[in-house]
Symmetry: C2
Subunit: 436 residues, 2 copies
């Protein structure tokens, strides 16, 4: 595929979609084959492939590039990809590259590197099109033609006043449909959905979804346009946030990535497990407190997992509903309605569960009806409390703006464990005489 | 805001972004105010607001519209929104509307209504631009100007051959940058990322993300273009799929929506809880089996929740990693590497947890070292098994293409419960003599 005619190879490769070019390049194991690729492609063509690689692979491959070729590749990359890469490279490589770069681009990249991860500034790229409000449509289209190759998108034209402040937006669609002598100011939409540079990425994703945007502009406090965030970046954010939600749920915040080492994964997860173990010691204490009851009827301990499990699972169901409605902002529409619904659902599930136990326990335990009533009653009550806890605690935590981790699955479950154990043993102790 | 001058109200409203127009309309409680809106806006202007409303609200408001106005609103809606709405309306309303609609549009909408939810066909809309390959760039741009108002996007032009088959795509960006006398065939990309009509939405989302697309074309088996799916639809899909993942995790599949009633939520969730209760009965049987051990040292039951909890939480962590890497397709890159990493992480977490218990238990239980070793050892072993179960079972289930629900959080946790209880009591029974 590689050794023969460079021209036909180039032609074949460049016909592919950039993602497929990247995929093809990614699987090249042999460094000398990769060298041939660098030779065959212009820096500009290779940059398009290179910036789609995973950051880790970019860091690996960067050192294979010759100095001038490398500098040209960097120049052709989009500024935010370059900033991401520089954040992973050693100081001296960056310095050397920056010396060879266009001063303007170097400054932009250095600026971008300063933004905190998860903010608008860290997601944006600076290849946008902004034009003065007094240009006519005809002039604007002329400019766009020139930008078509360089800008990240030309489908939105951001309109600036003479102080370079963002005052409007025109979609290319409207530009094409408009009369060519009108000015941008006449046809622009003045209401521009925009974010400031330190805006959180979750909020940005929500705006993009609500307003069906392809790109969202980022401005500083004086409404000067700093960059744009493209919808494909935002898709990645949505994916990332979903992973985060799941991580909170599973006591694995920041440890769901497949690429981190076993040691790092253990480091991030072990504190959760150990913390939960310590809370488990409290549960053990609670059970020890009822030692006398247990001494009388040892059989009672057989149902500890069942009561706890039912409460835990129900609490988790409710928690999932609430976590989801908090991140969808649905919760704002009516907290009480949600709480009421959850409690009613919990009540109904509790009745069904108690009914099942009243049938099954006498069958398995020789018609031990008192046991069935104690376990069934406990499950019913425990489910009620579990629903309440799984529902109200995350809402309160969200209102108070406390770290969401406290509302994470395992903590709620552990809390439910304790409550359900107390309920179970209180009921069992009260009706102990019927069991013997 | 409403009663006075219609013209200035119209002007104010239409200046807003369509999402904000919708938000404003949504909060109008008074039907007579809404009537005024219908009077003030053309059917076309109102359709833009109307089709952004939630389906439930659309169904409510539809009956407020006068017959001819309603027909005009329907005509101005995008075909897939209309199909979604029709799927919720009673037969006679649909029939009446279809009689008044353009025959072509009616046929299209009826077609769309047939597609199964969650497939490409159900997501696509038919307002796309496709042009013959022999048109010149100049002619194409001329056509686009005419379509600009009607099409969902004009940023991709799909290129057809004389048999109306999809043979290429040209972005508007390339169209603008090209020489006006070239034909579409000369400048088009032949590699069109496309899906067939029954493609699953999760796959479509992945393609869109990988290839950074704004829209993806849907074709039939003969490569005739049927419609396009816009990126904003796909953002909703990603959101939906994340909710689904969480639902599986929390034993609440299809029951996370906030809009469903308590009864429906209970109906969907109760079977999970009751099923898990029955499995819990097995755990109870296992514990009953060790009744003699418990009779000797009742204290042992105090640590049942702790051992189970630690195994459950660790299993959930691993499960979350695997579920995530399956839905990212990362798992294909190296199953064994992932399994090995998880087992190593589980081993390390197990050692840390056992160490904690060896310190804490003697403190709380008057230097009861045998108890500490029994519980610590059980936790160490149970964590190892839990990691293995949380990791291997979902991978096997994924390979065998069994329903993912079996790999859901609660089932894995319940399985881990049983295994950890067995481990705990086997160890406790073996070393019982040291406890007394």
């Amino acid at each position: 595929l590689e050794n023969d005619d460079i021209e036909s190879f180039r032609h074949e490769l460049l016909r592919l979609h950039q993602y497929n070019q990247m995929k093809w390049f990614e699987q090249l194991q042999n460094p000398s084959l990769r060298k041939n690729v660098y030779k065959a492609l212009s820096a500009r063509e290779f940059a398009a492939i290179f910036q789609k690689l995973k950051l880790k692979d970019q860091v690996d491959k960067v050192q294979e590039l010759e100095d001038t070729y490398q500098a040209d590749v960097f120049s052709a990359m989009s500024t935010n990809r370059l900033a991401d890469l520089f954040n992973r490279l050693p100081e001296h490589v960056i310095h050397q590259s920056i010396d060879q770069m266009d001063a303007e681009q170097a400054r932009t990249v250095m600026q971008l590197m300063k933004h905190e991860e998860g903010t608008a500034g860290a997601l944006m790229t600076t290849e946008f099109v902004s034009l003065n409000k007094d240009l006519t449509i005809e002039q604007a289209i002329e400019k766009l033609r020139a930008f078509a190759d360089l800008a990240e998108t030309i489908y939105y034209v951001y309109v600036e006043n003479d102080q370079h402040q963002l005052v409007g937006v025109v979609s290319l669609r409207h530009l094409l449909a408009g009369e060519s002598t009108k000015t941008l100011e006449e046809i622009m939409k003045e209401e521009v959905i925009q974010v400031v540079q330190d805006k959180d990425q979750e909020d940005i994703a929500k705006l993009t979804k609500d307003y069906d945007l392809i790109a969202i502009p980022v401005v500083d406090d004086d409404r000067h346009l700093l960059g744009i965030i493209m919808v494909d970046e935002i898709m990645d954010v949505v994916e990332e946030e979903a992973t985060e939600d799941l991580g909170e749920f599973a006591a694995s915040r920041g440890a769901l990535g497949i690429e981190i080492s076993a040691l790092l994964a253990a480091k991030k997860r072990a504190p959760w497990i150990m913390g939960l173990l310590l809370i488990g010691m409290v549960t053990a204490q609670i059970i020890s407190f009822f030692e006398n009851t247990l001494q009388e009827v040892v059989m009672l301990s057989a149902f500890i997992p069942l009561v706890m499990g039912a409460a835990g699972n129900t609490g988790t169901q409710t928690l999932a509903v609430i976590v989801r409605s908090i991140s969808n902002d649905e919760v704002k529409k009516g907290v009480w309605k949600i709480i009421l619904r959850e409690l009613s659902a919990g009540f109904m599930i509790g009745i069904c569960s108690a009914a099942v136990l009243l049938i099954v326990i006498p069958i398995f335990y020789n018609g031990n009806w008192p046991l069935a009533f104690i376990v069934g009653g406990s499950v019913f009550l425990a489910l009620g409390f579990a629903t309440f806890i799984g529902c109200v605690i995350p809402i309160i935590i969200n209102k108070l703006n406390i770290d969401q981790a406290v509302a994470s699955g395992p903590f709620i479950t552990t809390l439910n464990d304790m409550v359900s154990i107390v309920i179970y043993f209180l009921i069992a102790t009260s009706f102990l005489q019927y069991l013997q």
